[in-house]
């Protein structure tokens, strides 16, 4: 664990222990602590996710990244502190570390069902775009429980994107995905944030998104160790922060 000062020492330009100074459409955690029994997953953490940014949430395994995403997605409530969403209508799409879909439905059926949850869904063409951009087309009519690991991960990504959310939370989105698909997906996500949308990627593999990151937050053992712009050599920056 690091103390609060280390956040500023590391060059943060906005993060602090106080409420983030977010703008009108940001998503933020304010003084959030999350405990599971005796275990503290996150400790008094404040963090803001701004529109139009590609935000890297980096940290080693078990550092609290998935818990932080679960809080942002509303799957769990903080033990103390609060989640602030300036625009209550702005929705959140979540791609889970372990894919979550209806196993007995095909890829296309899964996408159609989850598209049906949206009051004002994107046009049908959006589904086709996702199938193409995520390289899901070859498996579109296959049952989800018969897919390989890479396709499962891409389907989960597609489900997070199907409602074209304002905030896109991606937990290790490229795990098991082949190199060609990785490049396609990374490029697609890069363009996704251009419409003032926010892409938050949680990973322990910072190199995979080094070229896309606008902002970097490093969480270690439930504590925010750095929040600010990524250095040119983000991999080296991350290693330094871990030491």
């Amino acid at each position: 664990m690091t103390d609060a000062d280390s956040t500023h020492d590391a060059g943060s330009d906005s993060a602090s222990r106080d409420a983030p100074d977010g703008d009108d459409s940001s998503l933020a955690l304010v003084d959030v602590t999350k405990r599971y029994g005796e275990t503290t997953a996150l400790e008094d953490l404040s963090l803001e996710f701004r529109p139009g940014t590609f935000h890297g949430l980096i940290g080693p395994n078990g550092s609290g990244k998935t818990t932080l995403f679960a809080l942002l997605a509303g799957l769990t409530q903080p033990t103390s502190g609060r989640i602030e969403r300036a625009d209550a209508t702005a929705d959140v799409g979540y791609s889970f570390q372990e894919p979550r879909f209806y196993p007995s439905l095909t890829v296309r059926e899964n996408l159609e069902i989850f598209r049906g949850f949206v009051d004002d869904p994107p046009p049908d063409a959006w589904t086709e775009t996702l199938l193409e951009e995520l390289r899901l087309e070859p498996a579109a009519d296959r049952r989800a429980d018969e897919l390989s690991g890479g396709f499962r991960k891409k389907l989960d990504l597609g489900l997070a994107l199907i409602k074209r959310p304002q905030y896109l939370l991606l937990d290790e989105p490229l795990a098991d995905v082949d190199d060609y698909s990785r490049r396609r997906i990374t490029s697609f996500l890069d363009s996704y944030r251009e419409a003032d949308r926010t892409v938050v990627v949680s990973t322990h593999n910072v190199a995979a998104f080094a070229d896309q990151l606008d902002r970097l937050s490093v969480v270690v053992d439930g504590d925010l160790r750095y929040d600010g712009p990524p250095a040119e050599d983000v991999v080296s920056q991350y290693r330094t922060l871990l030491e």
Partner: protein
């Protein structure tokens, strides 16, 4: 060595799943043996039997007649033959004994009439046995020369016809208490995603609605099969549909409450299986309540499933108005509401644990 390694793995798995092992290897077999305690006898001794005083019958006559029945029955007094008939149709009692006023007349002949309902087919043989027992018991207690007539009411039914509502109830129990929780658990991974798009309450409500509506299919199949076999059984009536609907909802709500309260663990499926076995054993599906012991009678009358069984059987086999079962239906409605509250609490517990 392979075998040793694999056995070691199994022992570790057992240690990691102690809840499941406890339910599967301790509670279920223990429960089965404990359940046998309420099946004490095969000759009826505690079956509720209605007693009706005919004209001129005194309290002494009734008391003596009841004394003659205690060997095989628990007497329940009725004001009139019509009330006793309704009691038979509601399965409050399984026989009605009409006591004449001249049982204490030493030189007279007394004719006792025992009325039974043809709809309760498996009880026909025990009834015939009981008539003989009643005749000898009462005759030995009173000065008069007692003869017993056996009168049967309702349409003649076969055992096959009797088993149709019983089988349908058993199906609904398995469907609601075992299959539906299993189905929900099979989609446990997607529940997280669903909770980012909807509410858990809504997800569960959709399951209850869809699988409740799907019950129309087996009901129609049973109706068609019964028609095919030429059974005189009214499978689809407003009363039977209402009872099946309520029974499905309260059993499914209990099954899902167990599932969510136990965090969607496999253990919940075996707990629900145990509950289904308890329902089958204690709800007087085939034999009258109290037939096997007074404890079994007391337990079954405390269970909503008993009232589901009786009302279903009556809707399908008896020519009785639905209003006769109004209080049973209200009890089922209350049970349904209470089980939905329990389900809501279980969902809250599940969400709070996250």
């Amino acid at each position: 060595m392979d075998l040793l390694a694999l056995l070691r793995k199994e022992s570790i798995t057992v240690r990691r799943n102690l809840g499941l092992i406890l339910v599967l290897l301790v509670l279920l077999p223990g429960g089965l043996v404990a359940g046998t305690a309420v099946f004490e006898q095969t000759i009826p001794r505690d079956v509720p039997v209605g007693v009706v005083a005919e004209e001129g019958t005194t309290e002494d006559d009734i008391a003596i007649a009841e004394a003659g029945m205690v060997a095989f029955a628990t007497p329940v007094e009725y004001e009139s033959a019509a009330d006793a008939r309704e009691g038979l149709q509601r399965e409050e009692v399984y026989l009605a004994v009409h006591v004449p006023g001249d049982v204490l007349n030493e030189s007279g002949e007394a004719n006792v009439t025992i009325v039974s309902d043809r709809a309760f087919v498996p009880f026909e043989e025990p009834v015939n046995e009981s008539v003989g027992v009643a005749e000898s018991e009462i005759d030995g207690l009173v000065p008069a020369d007692v003869t017993v007539d056996h009168e049967q009411v309702g349409a003649e039914r076969s055992l096959s016809e009797f088993l149709v509502p019983t089988g349908l109830f058993a199906f609904v129990t398995l469907y609601a208490l075992v299959f539906l929780p299993y189905q929900v658990r099979s989609e446990r991974l997607v529940l997280d995603r669903l909770q980012t798009e909807s509410r858990l309450d809504t997800v569960v409500a959709s399951k209850l609605l869809f699988y409740g509506a799907a019950l129309a299919i087996p009901a129609a199949v049973v109706a068609a099969m019964a028609y095919w076999f030429g059974y005189d059984v009214t499978v689809l009536s407003p009363l039977s549909v209402a009872v099946f609907g309520l029974t499905f909802v309260y059993l499914a709500a209990v099954g899902l409450a167990v599932l969510f309260a136990l965090g969607l663990r496999q253990t919940a499926l075996f707990v629900n299986l145990g509950l289904a076995l308890a329902v089958f054993g204690l709800s007087s599906l085939v034999y009258p309540t109290g037939f096997f012991s007074s404890a079994q009678g007391t337990i079954s009358r405390a269970l909503p499933t008993y009232y589901s069984v009786v009302t279903t059987r009556s809707a399908m086999l008896r020519d009785a108005p639905a209003s006769l079962y109004a209080d049973y239906l209200w009890w089922l409605v209350a049970t349904t509401l209470a089980s939905l509250v329990v389900l809501k609490l279980a969902l809250a517990v599940y969400e709070r644990r996250r």
